[in-house]
Every structure is written in structure tokens, then in C-alpha cells.
Chain length 133, copies 2
């Protein structure tokens, strides 16, 4: 089938943990220990989520991250696009210029492929972190 990247998987795990945790601030180390996720990797993921204002961060010795959005407002679609980029379901569809492609002079599957992609986007948009809690 089709596979989620580790970054997306780790994001879901971490965000769910934020969602169910009572603590205000959690550190990357705490989460990476709990789930055996490589610390440096998770740290960068949380930094990215922080940059996107999905988390807020505190620096310094008692720092950490906490959720800045409702779990029901964070979609899988958003996370996937954030970490895996906007690349389309086939090479020539970059999400942006869906009409203008590209690779094969005579591509006969362009329209149905674009439809497929749109449907998948709608599906992943409908999946929220709250669905994993």
C-alpha cells in the first residue's frame, strides 16, 4: 500500500501525546524516551511544528513544547504536506499547477489522476489528530 513517512508517524504519536497529557510543557527528550524515537529527529519535528504554530515552545532549562491548537483542528493532510512536501500523486502534478503538465506528450490519465489526488486530499483533510486520541 502506501506508506506514511516516519516524520508524519512520529508527529501523530507526539501530537496525540500532547493531546492526552495533563502536563503543560513536555520536552522532546521525554517523548523520544517514551516512544523510543531518535531524540534529534523528534526534536527537529517538534521545532518544525512549533514554527508552524501547532506547538508553542519555551527555551531554557525548564523549557518544552505544548499544543497551540485543538487536536480537532490539526489535519493529517496538513502534517503530510508539511513534512513530505506538496508533491502530487504522480511526478508531474505538483499540487499547484494541476492543469499544466507535463511529462508525457500524450498523457491520457491526467484528468482522472487529478481527481484521485483531490479525493485523497479531502480524505486526509478530514482526518484530525483528535481521531487518533
Amino acid at each position: 500500500m502506501i506508506r506514511l513517512s516516519k516524520k508524519v508517524e512520529y508527529s501523530i504519536i507526539a501530537l496525540k501525546y500532547f493531546a492526552i497529557s495533563k502536563e503543560t510543557y513536555l520536552t522532546a527528550k521525554e517523548i523520544s524516551n517514551k516512544y523510543k524515537i531518535p531524540h534529534e529527529l523528534l526534536a527537529k519535528i517538534l521545532q518544525r511544528l512549533s514554527k508552524e504554530k501547532i506547538l508553542t515552545s519555551n527555551q531554557g532549562i525548564n523549557g518544552g513544547y505544548k499544543l497551540n491548537k485543538q487536536p480537532s483542528d490539526i489535519s493529517l493532510e496538513y502534517i503530510i504536506k508539511l513534512f513530505d512536501g506538496e508533491k502530487g500523486i504522480v511526478e508531474c502534478i505538483n499540487g499547484k499547477s494541476a492543469g499544466e503538465c507535463c511529462i508525457f506528450d500524450e498523457c491520457t490519465i491526467k484528468d482522472p489522476i487529478i481527481k484521485l489526488q483531490k479525493e485523497l486530499e479531502i480524505y486526509f483533510s478530514s482526518k484530525k489528530i483528535s481521531d487518533f486520541v
Copy 2:
């Protein structure tokens, strides 16, 4: 987003071409020329489809392939599993032993992830080659 492999993409293009073509037998060379697909690669794809009885083949100098199934009976799900394997949406779900995983001692997202995978499988099962014609 999520990307189809070239093998799957080429399969769709080729199968659609078989579906709309009047000719009885088409060769790998003919299709690879028409769509600028690497010949050797397409040949192997058609061989595989042939092995799966989706196509039937004739060897020899006037040989080639033709459809052996209705386009409405060939699902995207089947093609994806055929060429990309049965790997699940995350590493530890191998499609088979969906219940028994695995990587994280305390994986908290297993159940919703399995649900996600099942829904995607249903979706891709519902997409047929005839939807691309």
C-alpha cells in the same frame, strides 16, 4: 502528498491503452514508444501483469499482449499491492498480522492507524482501470 510508484503509474497508462485500443495484440515496444516509457521497464511490468492473468501474452515475432480482464474488474488496490507490495501505511503493519505489532512497546496509535489503512484499501479497491478510460 502521497505518491504512486512509476510501476503503478505506467501500469495505469498501459492498461488504459489496452482498454481503448481496437488492436487485439499490442507490444511493449509500441506502448513504450507512444508514451516515452523506458522499454525494458514497461516490458517487465507487462510480463508481471501477464503472470497475474490481467493480460495474456503471445510470444514470438508477432507476439504481444492483450487484456484478459474487464477494465472494471482491475482495481488500483490490486495494482498497487502487486508492484509496491503489501507493506502497510506504517512499518509495523504488514497488511497480514494487522493485530500484532510491534515496533513501539507503547504504541498508542495502532488502532486508528489500522482503521485508516482499511479505509484507504477500500478506497483504492473502488478505483478501477475503467475509471481512467
